[in-house]
């Protein structure tokens, strides 16, 4: 009820800024349909990225989702378990004949780095990610995350799309389908793959599946531009202008002969947007306008090319958020190139593997958070730092690494609408299973949508016989972490 009131209030306040058609359709749904009926946003075909009203007053307007591919170990980073130090190299009580993804388990093994209290809150975080640890006071942890699958493919699917199966729209596609974007020179949803390559399920993280193709995330990063963005070299500037003028006249005449076809008008305007995008996309990747101090903060000149590349991607992410792009997905880690080589999948030699991955992530990502905070971007942006599942507190039998663990892991949020220096939920004494305020990925998605002013049970698209939602038929907003 509270939401509804807020929402009416919000709509009244902002009515002039909204597409009147979208508003009418929304109000119609509100008045005529029951309160739990699906809401399918009205998409103006000529302006698929036009901003659309949320369901109620939002706390966040944009989302930056940072995804660490390969399953980052929570017990070596964010989830402090003193018992692991005490019981180092002893069997995990009650684990019996536990069989996890790769097989049998050895003893409990203490975290690969020490933990220290951080910030004013004194949150215990490991030394693996020292720069990120400094930002502890700005983070809101969920230590009780659970995933439905313990293999990377389905679990990445779930974090990215809500379903463990293939073929469902990504969270970013849902959000931009619902809300459009504030930036009319850019796709509403941008995915930034790691310099080492795409994550394990690749473009499914930013696919639109059965939603219109307009809501696919557009993938590019600091090194690899949008495909087919640039005019071919063989076409001169003048030839391009003349071609576009010719095309415009041709299409305008065609539209005159086919009046009232909104799709034709939409296509004409999509060419104008494409032209604006060509300029905007070049500008956004021009990091020369960043100050040397900023570049140093992120580490763009680092001798580690992967770190320097990721640092550039982090700056790119901030610039996209600054320009109002609705949903930005930043990836750390790429597909499997051998266990733990390209991402956080530390089965066999976690000490060595994490020593490679942590420095790539740490400084640039911490800089991103710090920089966004300094520029006031965290006021309207929700930052969500996730991975597909956690890792075991034990080492695998006969190996020096940790197996998959979907029963308990950590994600953190920061920025608009979430508490600062806060921890929600907990795993058991070893970090093996979530036991307190157990949270699902559905809950996380529901909370994200809620912060964006969207009712996750109503944001819907009819496909193949079913009203589909990001959260399937599950999910509860994690109210505890909201401001």
């Amino acid at each position: 009820m509270n939401h509804l009131l807020n929402r009416r209030h919000f709509l009244n306040r902002t009515v002039t800024g909204l597409s009147s058609i979208a508003l009418t359709s929304l109000l119609k749904q509100d008045n005529l349909l029951a309160n739990d009926s699906p809401i399918r946003p009205f998409i103006d075909p000529s302006r698929p990225y036009a901003p659309r009203p949320p369901h109620f007053e939002p706390k966040a307007k944009q989302v930056l989702m940072i995804f660490c591919s390969g399953a980052m170990s929570h017990v070596d980073t964010w989830d402090y378990k003193p018992e692991l130090f005490k019981r180092h190299d002893t069997p995990m009580p009650g684990s019996g004949n536990l069989i996890t993804f790769q097989g049998e388990q050895g003893n409990l093994i203490k975290p690969i780095r020490d933990f220290k209290p951080r910030g004013q809150s004194g949150k215990m975080i490991s030394d693996l990610l020292p720069n990120l640890a400094e930002m502890a006071d700005d983070m809101c942890f969920i230590h009780s995350m659970t995933a439905k699958s313990n293999t990377h493919g389905p679990a990445e699917n779930q974090m990215g799309t809500g379903y463990i199966l293939d073929g469902f729209p990504s969270a970013g596609a849902w959000v931009t389908y619902a809300l459009g974007s504030e930036n009319q020179n850019f796709p509403a949803f941008v995915a930034i793959p790691d310099p080492r390559g795409v994550p394990q399920i690749g473009p499914r993280h930013w696919g639109s599946a059965f939603l219109p193709a307009s809501f696919q995330g557009t993938a590019f990063n600091a090194n690899k531009p949008i495909p087919n963005l640039a005019r071919p070299e063989s076409i001169s500037d003048k030839a391009e202008r003349d071609t576009r003028n010719f095309l415009k006249r041709l299409n305008d005449r065609h539209l005159e002969q086919n009046p009232g076809d909104s799709d034709l008008a939409a296509r004409i305007s999509s060419y104008e947007l494409a032209a604006r995008m060509q300029l905007a996309a070049v500008e956004i990747n021009d990091l020369s306008t960043e100050s040397p101090a900023t570049r140093a903060l992120y580490g763009t000149e680092d001798t580690n090319v992967n770190k320097a590349g990721f640092a550039k991607n982090c700056i790119l992410a901030r610039r996209l958020i600054e320009r109002g792009v609705r949903f930005v997905q930043l990836f750390n880690g790429s597909y499997a190139m051998g266990e733990g080589v390209g991402n956080w999948d530390g089965h066999k030699k976690i000490h060595d593997q994490y020593a490679v991955h942590a420095p790539i992530l740490d400084q640039p990502c911490a800089a991103l958070l710090k920089d966004m905070k300094a520029r006031g971007l965290l006021k309207d942006t929700l930052v969500v730092f996730v991975t597909e599942f956690g890792r075991m507190p034990t080492f695998q039998k006969g190996a020096n690494g940790r197996d998959h663990n979907p029963k308990g892991f950590t994600v953190w949020l920061s920025g608009a609408g979430v508490k600062r220096a806060y921890s929600h939920g907990a795993t058991d004494d070893f970090g093996y299973q979530a036991i307190e305020n157990v949270t699902t990925i559905y809950d996380l998605h529901a909370t994200m949508l809620h912060l964006l002013g969207l009712n996750h049970e109503r944001l819907s698209f009819y496909n193949n016989g079913i009203e589909r939602r990001l959260t399937d038929v599950h999910g509860h907003v994690v109210k505890d972490i909201l401001t």
Binding site: N150, G153, I164, L165, L250, N463
Partner: protein, 1091 residues
């Protein structure tokens, strides 16, 4: 107090329980029916009607008359456990209320059945339109009547007929997915009355199946990769695509099409069952049993839901965890259907041809003919030569040197088994491909450069054999120089031994265009070598790519012979290795090992045969140079050498690393001619050993044990490096001249037979699933495979169609056949309606039922229910001919009407659901690409077979899909022949709403995005096609720019340009060339839009 209460209750019960309607029903209605009623029936329990209430729910009967304490209803409303007690929210029932219920039950639970009870007992859901039998409208004649009468209700009518140009473009794209040629357009414009003939010819065109197969492949989520994390390609999934194309082209009756897709293995249509396994499968398996169970449950879920959605338009998938919330589909029904398909596993199986039974018979006969030929040819198998044969490949770093930088990496030969192709196994007269790959240098004319050298490091008299990669443009005069001192700087010791035309094979036949083939070995005479001699490859006078490959040095046994192939024997093997020699009498035989692959050599058996194939080694006395661990190891003993038993566990290992010998003394002198020995000849299960293999050896015989005569050795065998690639050499190099003709005839016969056997027995594989008898199927509580409940028998949906339930032990294939027959039954109310609606959907952009895969209660209602039934009944009446329905639709005025705007009608029906006009639409991704290729004149109409790839090749464990940026003619086939990866869309066409096959796509979205514009403007493909389009227009219209421009418009829009357009176009083409105009035209709305 207690007694008072009891007493009070008893008293009141007598009074109150009398009136069910007054006392009990209101209680149930108020407190129970919200969750246990018609809308929701939690735990399968309904308390709103007598029949349901007494039947009970998941936990058993709720009411047992006379026994309140045993009645779950009473137990649950009075439970002390808050989690158990009903109702679950709000206050518990008052003691007075529970007492009423107790008393009522104990008094016999009288429930007079009212009309309301009876009505509630009938399932209202079954009254849904789609579950009613088909009803052919009595006065039905044609499509237009139904459309017109609906329009008339809104005071609307059909639009006038579309003009001929618009109509022919529409019917082409609609039926075959391609544009007509300008000439076809002109013919049709001249005689529009030929429309029916046009429709007939398009429906008969092979292009029809290609276009409509694409639609079907969308619906059944067909893709050629596994999906999920690894998403590796399914190389043999494409036959299903061809099956669908053929089926549509042949107008296969739809009921048969259904049966084949569910049970094609029983109907001689192996590829068809790829339908069942067309979905994603998670190849990442783990040791975690819960994960494994979930993965399997997801596979079966995909099969059942796709089957139900595709053929029945039902969302049976909703009943995985609970009864369907809207449709009359119980959870049990879902598991009954799971049981029908539970024996289906993902994977490949051989694809039989149409006459497989005959083939089997023929194979038996052919094999019996082969045996006697082999016996005859055995006499001519090559005997061991004692001379050395040295092969030096261009890839061997020890014995070759690259003198000038090569052009890139070694080039492999074209795939295939033909002469000189990569997998050429050779035959009696031709060596197998020994070259594997070649290197090349671009030689400049007249510049005599030394490119490459081979160093045999052997002195003696050798016949030299050369080989090269044969290709039509290679150097015609590559020179080969023998350099005696191995020093390139000194030239007075150099002799040219050959000048080779590398455009020919070694036998003088010309190279085959577009085929990289190994030349075979050509003799260039006998030469004396010192141990420093090398052979140089030097460029000739004429230049051109000069190539190096393997060459051979054969120590000369007979200077007069003129062999066409060098004598060569296969590399030694860990299995039986044979040495034949001219029969000789011997008392002793010694087998000496001179080189070994690793450690101390091991031999599991040494056999020596007489010409009548008696193994005389068995009874010989054995002495050896020494035995591993001095014979204390039970597996490796001297006695095992000739014990007649194969395998590592019964073998001899020498005591010495890299060498050793074994000597046999026969009981008496024997005439012997063959030795067979092996490292590990064991068969069957268990480990097989290939280590400790004797690579170098010699066999000697003696009559006295003192003077020895060599009879065989490894010196004429291919080196060990060839062992994995060349296992046999069928080439006969020891045939006496007088027998040559006979042997040639025998080998020809044999080759012919072997070829036929190969063709008949090598069945191609198809990704169409494997079938095995499944165990029992359980209902899974909440769809959780770790919570099995009761066993469910295989069957179909209980409430829809004819009842079908099979015994639990029904054979696997029978289940699928039964399910197929149940679906394809003409009385099934859904099957025919669903398919005719799909056809309508693709013809008009929207179905009569807007939700093509959901005909259930939550789906859309048909706009024209009678038309739908008319078409469905027409389908069944015309033997399920889909082409008949297509033609009915295409011949309608509704299809042929104009798409022009009519403002009055638009206000009444803006998206033309009632079809007051033909609804205009954007071309689909495939049609855009195919039409660009047609327009540019580049389209390759090759049908069938493996698809082309829009992605760069990649072999990572998790396949990485990177869109190709550069396309060649191999990619210019119709897009339906793209080998389609799951959930991966290429950069270009993926932006045009291609479904990603992650889930079935009964409808496509049609969006407009700036990425589409960027792709059409800037991609390599668009630029390349614009160029080709311009070239074509110029070629077809001469040098006059105005004519060229007219041609471009005709080719792309099927009309000439207006004068305004002509002026604009001339200006653009004059300034920037015709390709610039063509690029613009590909980006026009008119091109991508269908009116």
């Amino acid at each position: 107090m207690k007694s008072f209460l009891l007493c009070a209750l008893t008293v009141s019960s007598v009074v109150l329980a009398q009136d069910f309607e007054a006392d009990i029903r209101p209680l149930l209605r108020e407190h129970c029916v919200e969750c246990h009623g018609e809308k929701k029936n939690k735990a399968d329990l309904r308390l709103d009607a007598k029949m349901h209430a007494f039947k009970g729910g998941e936990s058993g009967p709720a009411i047992i008359a006379g026994k309140s304490d045993d009645s779950l209803l009473f137990q649950r409303i009075t439970s002390a456990d808050e989690d158990e007690r009903m109702p679950p929210r709000g206050n518990p029932l008052t003691p007075e209320q529970t007492a009423k219920i107790k008393a009522w039950i104990d008094a016999g639970a009288a429930w007079p059945e009212t009309e309301a009870d009876k009505a509630a007992a009938t399932d209202q859901r079954l009254l849904h339109w789609a579950y009613q039998p088909l009803q052919r409208p009595a006065n039905a004649r044609d499509v237009d009547e139904f459309i017109s009468s609906k329009l008339a209700e809104k005071n609307l009518s059909l639009s006038k007929a579309a003009d001929a140009r618009t109509l022919i473009r529409r019917v082409y794209f609609d039926v075959v997915g391609l544009p007509p040629t300008p000439e076809e357009v002109e013919r049709f414009v001249a005689s529009p009355s030929s429309y029916e003939a046009l429709v007939d010819s398009l429906l008969a065109s092979p292009r029809f199946g290609e276009k409509w197969a694409q639609h079907w492949l969308d619906v059944v989520r067909f893709a050629e990769s596994d999906g999920f994390e690894t998403n590796r390609a399914r190389d043999n999934a494409w036959p299903y695509r061809d099956y669908v194309i053929e089926s549509f082209n042949n107008d296969k009756p739809y009921d048969q099409f259904i049966r084949e897709q569910l049970a094609g293995d029983a109907l001689n249509a192996d590829a068809a069952t790829a339908f069942l396994v067309g979905g994603a499968v998670d190849r990442v398996k783990s040791k975690d049993p819960v994960l494994t169970a979930n993965q399997r449950a997801d596979e079966l879920h995909d099969m059942v839901s796709t089957t139900a959605a595709t053929f029945l338009g039902l969302t049976v998938n909703c009943a995985r965890c609970h009864n369907h919330k809207f449709d009359p589909i119980a959870q049990e029904d879902y598991y009954a259907m799971i049981a029908m398909l539970q024996g289906v596993q993902h994977g490949e199986r051989p694809m039989r041809s149409a006459n497989s039974a005959e083939n089997e018979k023929r194979l038996v006969k052919l094999r019996s003919e082969l045996a006697p030929l082999d016996a005859k040819l055995a006499a001519f198998q090559p005997r061991s030569h004692l001379g050395r044969v040295i092969l030096i490949d261009d890839t061997s770093p020890q014995t070759t040197a690259i003198e000038q930088p090569t052009n890139g990496k070694p080039i492999t030969y074209s795939p295939g088994r033909e002469k000189g192709a990569a997998e050429d196994p050779g035959d009696a007269t031709r060596l197998p491909n020994l070259g594997e790959s070649y290197r090349y240098w671009s030689a400049e004319t007249g510049k005599h450069e030394d490119f490459f050298t081979w160093d045999p490091n052997a002195s003696g008299r050798f016949r030299i054999w050369l080989s090269w990669g044969a290709w039509t443009t290679h150097a015609p005069d590559a020179r080969y120089i023998l350099d005696q001192d191995g020093d390139l700087k000194t030239t007075n010791d150099q002799t040219e031994i050959a000048n080779i035309n590398q455009r020919l094979f070694a036998d003088g036949k010309p190279a085959i265009p577009e085929q990289r083939r190994w030349s075979g070995l050509q003799s260039v005479g006998i030469h004396d070598l010192t141990d420093k001699s090398i052979v140089i490859l030097r460029s000739g006078d004429k230049g051109g790519p000069t190539v190096a490959d393997v060459i051979a040095f054969e120590e000369v046994p007979d200077e007069k012979a003129k062999p066409t192939v060098p004598h060569l024997r296969a590399p030694v093997s860990h299995l039986a290795t044979e040495d034949n020699f001219d029969a000789i009498e011997a008392k002793f035989l010694r087998f000496t090992i001179t080189a070994c692959s690793s450690g101390e050599p091991c031999i599991d058996e040494l056999e020596v045969f007489t010409p009548v194939s008696k193994n005389v080694a068995r009874t010989a006395k054995v002495t050896v140079s020494g035995t591993y661990a001095d014979g204390t190891n039970t597996s490796h003993k001297r006695e095992h050498l000739n014990d007649g038993q194969y395998g590592n566990a019964r073998s001899w290992i020498s005591k010495e690393k890299g060498g050793g010998w074994a000597q046999l003394e026969f009981e008496k002198p024997e005439r012997i001619h063959r030795v067979v020995w092996s490292r590990d000849r064991s068969t069957g299960k268990g480990k097989h050993y290939e280590d400790r293999l004797a690579l170098g050896y010699r066999v000697e015989v003696s009559s006295d044990g003192k003077s020895w005569k060599p009879v065989a050795s490894s010196s004429d065998r291919l080196a060990d490096a060839y062992r994995k690639r060349i296992t046999t050499i069928p080439t006969l190099s020891d045939v006496p001249t007088e027998k040559a003709a006979e042997v040639a005839k025998l080998t020809q016969q044999r080759a012919h037979l072997a070829d036929e056997i190969q063709k008949l027995s090598a069945l191609p594989m198809v990704y169409a699933g494997n079938f095995s008898q499944p165990g029992p199927t359980n209902r899974m509580h909440r769809g959780d495979p770790t919570q099995p409940r009761e066993v469910v028998a295989p069957g179909a949906l209980k409430q829809i169609g004819r009842p079908l339930s099979l015994p639990a032990d029904t054979p696997e294939q029978e289940r699928r056949l039964a399910l197929a027959n149940w679906i394809a039954d003409p009385t099934n109310p859904l099957t025919a309606r669903v398919i005719v609606n799909r056809l309508w959907h693709y013809h008009f952009g929207t179905g009569l039922v807007e939700t093509p895969s959901d005909f259930g209660i939550n789906g859309a209602r048909p706009t024209h229910p009678e038309l739908l039934d008319f078409l469905a009944s027409e389908l069944i009446a015309h033997k399920w001919s889909l082409k008949h329905i297509h033609k009915l639709i295409l011949m309608s005025k509704t299809f042929q009407q104009s798409s022009a705007m009519n403002e009055v009608a638009y206000k009444a029906d803006s998206n033309a659901r009632l079809l007051w006009r033909f609804p205009p639409r954007r071309l689909e991704a495939e049609a855009v690409r195919d039409a660009m290729l047609v327009t540019s004149g580049q389209l390759d109409l090759k049908m069938g077979g493996p698809g082309f790839d829009l992605f760069e090749p990649n072999d990572n464990y998790v396949k990485v899909y990177q869109t190709k940026t550069d396309y060649g003619p191999a990619e210019f086939r119709r897009m339906v022949y793209q080998s389609k990866p799951r959930t991966m869309l290429d950069d270009f066409f993926g932006a045009f709403d291609c479904p990603d096959a992650g889930q079935p796509a009964p409808k496509r979205t049609s969006s407009t995005t700036p990425l589409q514009a960027l792709n059409l403007l800037n991609s390599h493909f668009a630029m390349q096609q614009a160029e080709a389009f311009a070239n074509r227009a110029m070629k077809e219209s001469g040098s006059d720019l105005a004519k060229q421009i007219r041609r471009t418009f005709e080719l792309i829009f099927q009309r000439p340009p207006s004068s305004e357009e002509q002026t604009d176009a001339i200006a653009l083409a004059k300034s920037h060339g015709l390709p610039a105009l063509c690029r613009a035209l590909f980006n026009s709305n008119e091109f991508i839009r269908l009116n």
